[in-house]
Subunit: 276 residues, 2 copies
């Protein structure tokens, strides 16, 4: 007995299904198929931040590893923010990854692309729903309107990650285009955004400067991962598990969500330190 | 856009490390390297059962997926038991798997082997430690002593599995051989055991009939998975992460624990229903 003989993955010869990824895929799929019948894009995003208890401290649960919280079961809120140092750290990591992934002969993955955006969001009350807002996004330099939309929250799942410096949240929203509102905005947010793209995902690293009506500015540092093509998301969701389509189309939604969860985990784990 | 283009596993091109499996591997490794310096075998096992709150009901935590509980943080106990119907169900599944895995041309995994054992355990107080017991195991039919040993509990991890009908527990024990105790036993357990073996693991499905000093019999149905070769376990643990040995030896401990966790998960998920 000098070493371990080759092992099967299990008594069944396969890895057991990943319960965590399936739970998130089931949740997103349910949000998509039960959404309001309105024209618009479904946005699926993961935000990196912290789950905070009512007192303001980080949530603490008696578990050792990353897990999904039961919705509405815990009195906590998700804060989509990080320190300026963490933000700079992610900027460095993503820039290095963009450079290394663009080298000839780099085989691990596709190259990342990159855009620097400076945007201004103005928020207006919605005439149809007190809880919703209308967001007008402009290019900061030219002032040109990029989009006007009403964002309808469909649902969130909070991911508690006790071994890491960050938690994360999966959000599903419906973005409904609308006409430019009249009247004055309630508040504005300036967004200085490094937007990285990789295959079917965008990673937005944003410094947000908010100004409310009292004029006090607040600076937040946000990191978001989103599925880049809402139409592809809906197409794959519509074929999920359909035995009348080829296997690769039937499984495409779950493959997309697997890569989405993998990327969100990699981001949350790297809230400090080098890539791992 | 007719379908999903081939996706990388992540922006780094790899699956992120499985935090759950690494946590269990780190725990077992720590128990092994910090064990008392006594001659004996290290036993690593996973028991399938239920985590119960003090009131007797199943533990309930606000999480949606399988997770590892922080030791000593929750007032609960693990019950290594299942219904007679579940026991029969596992017996059927494992027998079917033994038959299918032994067919010529079966490619998913190695064949299972099988033994039916009828054993009697007698327990004696330890002279050296009030909290430990000495176990004498005999063949029920012949009465021959199979082993005498003192079992020293090193540590446990409880796994809460809210989507399944069963939870599980990883236990690490040190089994120290000893001479046959004198005096009379405090209690006995008759074990009717179907012992399946697959590669480096034993799966023991046991009907246990306990008799205490008052003579009242109690029947339990236990399902345990254990690492079959303690010497191999210690060998792989000693080389874990050692950069002076070849990569396959350096990773062998983690590969062994990965298959152990996969098998424990598959067993816990099949507490009813067909294999999945």
């Amino acid at each position: 007995m000098s070493s371990l003989p080759p092992l099967s993955l299990s008594i069944l010869g396969v890895e057991p299904l990943d319960e965590f990824i399936k739970e998130i895929a089931d949740f997103i799929h349910h949000m998509i198929i039960s959404r309001p019948d309105l024209p618009g894009n479904v946005e699926v995003e993961a935000k990196i931040g912290l789950l905070r208890e009512r007192g303001g401290g980080r949530l603490s649960l008696p578990v050792l590893v990353e897990t999904i919280l039961t919705p509405d079961s815990i009195d906590c809120r998700f804060e989509s923010n990080m320190t300026a140092a963490q933000h700079k750290h992610f900027n460095t990591l993503l820039n290095e990854l963009k450079i290394s992934s663009s080298q000839p002969g780099y085989a691990s993955s596709s190259p990342l692309d990159y855009h620097h955006l400076r945007l201004v969001d103005s928020f207006y009350p919605s005439e149809t729903n007190d809880r919703e807002k209308i967001r007008v996004t402009r290019d900061e330099k030219s002032g040109a309107v990029i989009e006007c939309m009403r964002k309808i929250r469909l649902g969130d799942l909070n991911i508690y990650s006790p071994k890491r410096l960050a938690d994360w949240r999966v959000s599903v929203n419906l973005e409904v285009p609308c006409s430019h509102p009249v009247g004055s905005s309630t508040h504005q947010r300036k967004k200085d955004r490094m937007s990285y793209s990789h295959e079917e995902f965008n990673i937005d690293l944003t410094q947000v400067t908010s100004t409310n009506q009292s004029g006090t500015p607040e600076i937040l540092h946000e990191l978001e991962l989103e599925i880049a093509r809402p139409a592809l998301l809906l197409l794959t969701a519509s074929k999920r598990g359909d035995m009348n389509v080829p296997e690769n189309e039937r499984n495409a939604f779950d493959e997309l969500i697997r890569a989405f969860v993998n990327n969100a985990r990699i981001l949350a784990r790297n809230a400090s330190d080098s890539w791992h």
